[in-house]
Amino acid sequence: MKFIIVDDNSSTRLTVKIALEKMGHNVVGEAENYDEAVKVISETDFDILLLDLLIPGGSGVDVLRKVGTRNKKVIAITALEQDGIDKELVRLGVCFILRKPFSFDELKKAIEECV
């Protein structure tokens, strides 16, 4: 499957990319802030979006409000655990909320839950 990773930290993106490739997936796009995220989601053909909620320039919630899910699967990644945010993410079409810190198996499980 084709993935987009949105996270402000390049080391995290690389680690997640390696994990996804180990699972047999491809990373077709990356973004580190709000503007890049909106652009890459709008212009790239992908299956699953991994979206960190805390990114510079706006939040992951703002990104989804702007571009929507484009009828693709979205996994939100966050250390936040707020009822209001969870409800809003579900309303915006997020299929799984992955809490930090997460393991390889938890990432795998999140993907399985979504597809």
């Binding site: 080391s11 805390l54 250390a79 936040l80 707020q82 209001g84 810190p101 393991s103």
Partner: protein, 181 residues
């Protein structure tokens, strides 16, 4: 007000317990909440500080301090190396410390947001190095109406096989927020 402050203490404690449970799942360290109190320790030391300020609700500021030597130990145990001269080292080091801060501080923030039935999205966590008292004074000074903010502190103990380290957390919370809890 006393009851409200006790309720706030419980929220901080609950948030930290959740975060230490999460960290214990993925780390070889043992993370343990030691205490939550209303004291600003005057003890200064060279530290690595992760802080976050809520961007849509400017009444809260959360800070996490680790003694510089303890941060080095934590990094060494997590990564298996300590090469301060390496250019890549600083990047990995800051990522690890800021992720630990991100997890702990956001857990507490989430408990408070849930209690207030609000959505509070913080800014991206920031990391700075320096003397603890100096950083506390500066962050505290950045907040508007600082005089009405209540500082709350907490200590988390981090244990590995051979090492014991402590992490200090500080929360500046406006009186008006405490009254709503």
């Amino acid at each position: 007000m006393k009851e409200k402050i006790e309720a706030l203490k419980s929220l901080v404690n609950a948030g930290l317990l959740k975060s230490t449970e999460r960290l214990n799942k993925v780390s070889s360290f043992r993370w343990k909440v030691l205490e939550v109190s209303f004291e600003l320790s005057r003890k200064g030391y060279e530290s690595v500080c992760v802080y976050l300020i809520s961007k849509n609700y400017d009444k809260l500021a959360f800070l996490l301090f680790i003694k510089k030597e303890d941060a080095n130990k934590i990094f060494k145990i997590f990564s298996g190396y300590y090469l301060s001269e390496s250019p890549e080292y600083k990047k990995s080091y800051e990522l690890l410390i800021s992720e630990i801060g991100n997890i702990m501080l956001n857990s507490v923030l989430s408990e408070i947001a849930n209690k207030l039935s609000k959505i509070i999205i913080p800014d991206v966590p920031r990391i700075i190095n320096g003397e603890k008292r100096f950083i506390l004074e500066n962050i505290s000074g950045m907040l508007e109406e600082n005089k009405s903010k209540v500082p709350l502190s907490s200590t988390v103990l981090v244990e590995s096989e051979n090492e014991k380290m402590s992490i200090e957390l500080y929360f500046f919370i406006e009186n008006g927020v405490i009254e709503k809890i």
